[in-house]
Symmetry: C2
Subunit: 220 residues, 2 copies
Amino acid sequence: MGLDSFSKSKRSDEISNAVINRLPKYYRCLRELLNNDILRVSSKELAGLMRTTASQIRQDFNCFGGFGQQGYGYSVKTLYTKIGMILGITDNYSAVIIGAGGIGMILADNPVFTKRGVILRGVFDKLKKYIGKEINSELTVRSIKDLEQFLLTTKIDIAVFVDYELTKSCVDILLRNKIKGIWNFTGHELRDVDDTIPIENMYIEDTLMTLCYQIKQKEE
Amino acid sequence: MGLDSFSKSKRSDEISNAVINRLPKYYRCLRELLNNDILRVSSKELAGLMRTTASQIRQDFNCFGGFGQQGYGYSVKTLYTKIGMILGITDNYSAVIIGAGGIGMILADNPVFTKRGVILRGVFDKLKKYIGKEINSELTVRSIKDLEQFLLTTKIDIAVFVDYELTKSCVDILLRNKIKGIWNFTGHELRDVDDTIPIENMYIEDTLMTLCYQIKQKEE
């Protein structure tokens, strides 16, 4: 199967969430290989890094039309680029953060956005102690009161919700302005958002609970 | 099926990860109900909150021996307590955070630990600007050099890794001192940890990538 068979891939709605959720992990592993100047990788080697099986990897890649040639392994750079394209990393979506406290400022000042091709356009809060605070040379925290005006002139794709009270007060404004996706760090379910908008919920406490559960199982 | 049938539940190693991963979400939904003084809930009502089906909920709870009585719905408080017990929330595990920068300080000063019954015992870093910094009335950031000494007198169950370089320098010390689980925020795979120790990896950038993927799918 050649590298150009990408177009022959399954329709995306046939691809399971489990495969989709593994793609970012592939992407990270491949970046690690590139950083170490490793240019070709077999499914067996990749399986070792991913802590999975070579057959799983071949199966996953086949969902997207396969990326490799039997016996030659995969080109790390091609794989990295193609998976990045599938993940929409080259699409330069724009984002705002709602809530400068807690993880808000940490996210704003973190390479996570630029590394993933997302352009952070603004950070909003209602508290005086945050408004005007400089995040980097290009961004300062703005007043939430200016959000609606801001959205008239700036197209925003992704709302990153950090502060729950603030989110409740401005989620309608963002929806009216046709945001395309929500990254939710508030720790609360967002019930008033219709099902057509993709939401990724980051419930960090859930993973702590899952960890405690696993520890408990080991002890029993 | 009565409330006491808990002991008749399946053995935990038969329960799928998908069910386990839903338990924290049940736990959050039930807390929300308790906060609103709602004491009984049907599987249908719970399904609405969880954005799933009543049959899914009955199936999940059956894995643990079921918690309800046909036609009467579930006691919210009993469910909340039992799911908390299953998740190990009543076990009071102790934790240290390795890395006070970035999300380290945010986590340390966050109710996530106490809310989940985990006792934060220490925060460690190597940088002077963090060492000695007060987190709350009971905790200040300690020097990473003191970690080994600290572990001689304090039993630690969970290591929360925030700073990757720091993690590499002290993971062996923690493993020697028999930590039971790892909560990994470094954004790097921890390859030198054997498979017997449960690890929960928080790759926040993965969820951003998954979100971008979903947005892209909607656009096509």
